[in-house]
């Protein structure tokens, strides 16, 4: 009877745990194992190759270029999205007449899928017929090849990702803002704090937990950005938007080079573990 009672809680947890093991633990092991095998050219069989795949990708300029693009992309897109999301959530948290309508409009992109977004923005950014270039042209600015120039393509991807990302993360921050009791902010005001002081000393610290969550989720989501690349630039021009998950996917499924693909995934896993570990450390730091 006592044993049964001790087992029951774990039964509630069991389905979730099985899913976590099957979809997290086993594939991690499978990926790392796969990364040490190559398909032999002579016999066509899978043979153990130690670090051969890693050697191959570490000597491959395409891999390094892809990693570099991903790092640059992440360093721009994450701070940008979080700062804008914070601003947007504060904007729509105000009590202004008609704010409800604006709030609904801003949150519209959240419900739109990334591939519809990619289709729309591909039209909007078209060099000849796109709306953005139409506006630029009317302002007397030259038409820009947004998705076809090495200098602009990554920025276009950043904008497409942020069109959804900013309102999405602002939803979470908005929820955090609404959790701050108004008397706290009023008290600060009575004590003579100006708007900036009460923002940095009260609002931000009280949002730390939500911001940490948004930081983790946003970093990972952007690290794994895939659909907009496939649907707009396909990594080009000249690999300037060849983000790491897209490169991995292409190696594995298009070129059938599973060893290299698994080695890249293992590298990505290490990176994600480090980032998530660091960010969770921040999350824990405040308890």
């Amino acid at each position: 009877m006592r044993v049964r009672q001790q087992i029951i809680p774990y039964l509630f947890l069991l389905p979730a745990l099985i899913l976590l093991i099957v979809f997290n633990l086993l594939p991690t092991i499978a990926t790392v194992v796969e990364s040490t095998f190559v398909i032999s050219l002579r016999s066509g069989e899978r043979v153990f190759a130690g670090f051969a795949n890693y050697n191959r990708i570490f000597n491959d300029p395409v891999f390094w270029k892809s990693l570099q693009v991903t790092v640059v992309f992440s360093l721009i897109v994450n701070p940008l999205q979080i700062a804008l999301a914070l601003g947007l959530s504060m904007l729509i948290n105000q009590k202004l007449p008609g704010i409800g309508i604006f709030r609904s409009i801003y949150l519209l992109p959240v419900a739109v899928s990334l591939n519809v977004t990619a289709i729309v923005w591909r039209l909007m950014l078209d060099q000849n017929t796109g709306m953005i270039n139409g506006i630029l042209f009317n302002l007397g600015i030259e038409r820009q090849p947004f998705l076809h120039s090495v200098d602009l393509a990554l920025w276009s991807i950043i904008m497409i990702a942020s069109w959804i990302g900013v309102p999405l993360w602002s939803l979470f921050i908005l929820a955090g803002l609404q959790n701050i009791p108004p008397p706290v902010l009023e008290a600060a005001k009575i004590d003579g704090a100006n708007a900036w002081q009460s923002f940095t000393r009260i609002t931000l610290p009280l949002l730390r937990r939500v911001l940490a969550f948004v930081l983790v989720a946003d970093t990972v989501a952007n690290f794994l950005l895939f659909a907009p690349i496939l649907l707009t630039t396909q990594g080009g021009p000249q690999l300037s938007t060849n983000l790491i998950l897209y490169e991995t996917y292409r190696r594995g499924f298009v070129y059938g080079d599973l060893g290299a693909s698994a080695a890249m995934l293992s590298v990505m896993l290490v990176i994600v573990f480090i980032i998530v570990g660091l960010e969770l450390y921040v999350l824990r730091g405040q308890d």
């Binding site: 809680p9 509630f12 389905p15 979730a16 745990l17 899913l19 976590l20 099957v22 997290n24 086993l26 991690t28 499978a30 990926t31 904007l91 009590k95 704010i99 604006f102 709030r103 409009i105 801003y106 949150l107 519209l108 992109p109 419900a111 899928s113 591939n115 519809v116 289709i119 729309v120 923005w121 039209l123 909007m124 017929t129 796109g130 709306m131 069109w163 939803l171 979470f172 908005l174 929820a175 959790n179 902010l185 923002f199 609002t203 937990r209 939500v210 983790v216 794994l224 895939f226 659909a227 649907l231 998950l245 996917y249 594995g252 499924f253 599973l258 896993l269 994600v272 998530v276 308890d287």
Partner: protein, 282 residues
Amino acid sequence: MGRLNIFGSGRSQSTLPNYIILILLALFAALPILLLVSNSLKSTSEIASSPFAVPRDFLWSNYGEAFDKGNYAVTIRNSAILTISTIAGSLTVAGLAAYALSRLKLKGSNVLSFYFLVGIGVPAQLFIIPLFFMWKQLGLVNTHVGLIIIYTALQSPFATYLLRSYMLSIPEEFVDAAKIDGASDWQVFRHIIAPLTGPGFLTAGLVIGLFTWNEFLFAVTFLPEKEFKPVATSLYAFQGRFSRDWGLTNAGSVIMMAPVLILFLALQRRFIEGLTQGGLKA
């Protein structure tokens, strides 16, 4: 003189600059969607010649044609099956797990909670290639069940996390009273915790539904067969086949977007409330 007023709640400054920013942002958010809808009522040649004018003769026939050519009768059904099953599966799995983590005396509950956080942080996208070969061996590629299992696994950690925060905020007295009356853990979950967590389930369900309806990477990989494709990936195939017909592509996009957009708008307020009450407590 009015300056941007988002930092405080003072009413002294003019609100005009606020409204200017609000309107500019609204244009940025809404224009692509308006453009999509407007272009869905044009012919391809009209889109090319005047891409951002109001449609000349409102080509409603685009919708019928897109619906037929894009095989929407089948794909919408497929998407509905995937979405509804994933919501049901994830909420069940996550609800039970959240109950165990928040309410039951569990050895190592902190470690396990932490592992669920890691599960959110290390999503299955990273494992798509080993998963694909695993699923192929199990005969689960090109089956809805196979993808539903993946989606459920993908969504459960976040849902568990959200629901756990929710359940932690339910007062202990409710549970104690029931236990004194002799209720089992299952009865407490079924009759007290689950009903009181209703708004949390709604919020989590909406997040899961949005994700599943719009998901692309797994759908395109695990359901290559035409008869199983959901709207998200059939739209992509359709876009390739009729790439020159932008009118149809746009109409097809609107058909895909409309149901979730309307649902999300209708439930938006409750959705934010759900996130707020959940409070995302670690």
